[in-house]
Symmetry: C2
Subunit: 170 residues, 2 copies
DNA sequence: AGGCTGTTGTGATACTATAACAAAAGGGGG
DNA sequence: CCCCCTTTTGTTATAGTATCACAACAGCCT
C-alpha cells in the first residue's frame, strides 16, 4: 500500500469506498485479480465462489452471510447456510474477502494479492467499509505485544466512525 | 498505562494474565475500583452486576454470555439471556468489562477507571486475554484513518497469537 | 470402469443476541 | 406512611449467526 498502482483503484485510495466513483473498475479489477491469484495457487474459482465474490463486490459495504445466501438461493445455488459460509471462508482464507467482526459480516478485498494487514474503517452513516493502510498500526500492535512477550499471529483492527462525506453532510 | 501504580496489578504488567500470579489481587482490586467508579457516577452496583463482574474476574479468560448466564441461573438469578446481556452491556459501557469480538465473549477490565484504549492479546493456547497498552496503536490507526478523512469514534483492536509461557512450552 | 479428491447440497442443530412487556425494587415528595 | 416515578430484573418469544455430519456429485488419474 502507498505504492501507486493504476490497476488497483482501491489500493492507494481507500477513501474511494466512501465517495461516488466508477465502481465497475473496482469490481472487474478485484475479480480479475482473484482469478489470477487462485490459478497461481492451483485452486479453483468455482461458480459459487465467483458469485459470492461478485455479490460482495457490488458495493463497498459488508454483507451478512445470510444476505448472500438469499441471493445465492434465488439464483439456483444451494439454500443452506454452509453454502454461503464455505465460500466466504474460502475467500477469506485466500485473501479475497474479509470478515468484519464488528458487523458479523463480510466484504470483498479491494486489492487482493498484495501483502496487506488492513485496518477497516466502518462508516456508521453510510455503512461503507474501507481498508486503510495499516502497516504502521500493525507495527505498533506487534511492538506493544512484544513488550509482554506475546507473539502476534493475526489481528483484527476495526474502527467505527464517520467518513469525510457523511461528516460533511451532517 | 505505563504509569506505575502498585494498587493495580494488571495495569503495568499485562503479561500477568498469562502467568501464574496472585490472582486474588486482580479480583479484589478490579472489583473495588469498579464499585468506587460506579458510586462516583451515581450508578448502582447491583447484585447481578456485581456477580457478573466477579465471575468474569475469576480468570483472565473471556467468557460467553451463556456461560455466565448458566452460572447466574444456578445461583438463583434469572435464567434468560437478557439477564446476562444487560449486566454485560452495562459493565462494558462503564468500562468494567470488555467485549472480545473475535471470541463473541466478554472479559473483565483489569484496570477500570483509567483512560485506556486497550488492544487485546488472545493466546490461542491458554485462552487468556490480556489488555496491552495501545496508545501508540490507536494513534497509528487514527493517523491512517485521518489520511482518508475518516474520523474514528471507536475501535476494536484484537490480536490472536501465543503468549510467552505457551510458546516456551511448545 | 474404478477409485480418489475436492466441492456442493441438505437436514439438523448449536450458539449468540435482541424485542417486548410484566413484575418488582428503591427513592423522593406529599 | 403511601403514592408515584424511575430503574432494574424477570420472562416469553423470536431473530440472527454459525457449525456438524453425511449424502451426492464432478473432475481427474490410472
Amino acid at each position: 500500500m502507498g505504492q501507486m498502482d493504476p490497476s488497483c483503484p482501491g489500493c492507494d485510495a481507500p477513501q474511494l469506498a466512501f465517495a461516488r466513483h466508477d465502481h465497475g473498475l473496482c469490481q472487474s479489477d478485484a475479480l480479475a485479480r482473484g482469478e489470477v491469484l487462485l490459478a497461481a495457487r492451483g485452486l479453483k474459482m468455482t461458480p459459487v465462489r465467483r458469485r459470492v465474490l461478485e455479490i460482495l463486490l457490488e458495493s463497498h459495504r459488508a454483507m451478512g452471510a445470510y444476505d448472500i445466501l438469499a441471493r445465492l438461493a434465488a439464483e439456483g445455488f444451494g439454500s443452506q447456510p454452509p453454502v454461503a459460509y464455505r465460500a466466504l471462508d474460502f475467500l477469506e482464507e485466500q485473501g479475497l474477502a474479509h470478515r468484519i467482526r464488528r458487523l458479523n459480516a463480510f466484504c470483498a478485498c479491494m486489492h487482493p494479492g498484495e501483502a496487506h494487514a488492513p485496518a477497516f474503517l466502518i462508516c456508521r452513516s453510510c455503512d461503507a467499509v474501507a481498508e486503510a493502510a495499516a502497516g504502521s498500526v500493525r507495527g505498533a500492535l506487534e511492538t506493544a505485544a512484544g513488550l509482554v512477550g506475546f507473539t502476534v499471529e493475526g489481528s483484527n483492527i476495526e474502527a467505527l466512525g464517520q467518513c469525510a462525506d457523511c461528516r460533511g453532510q451532517a
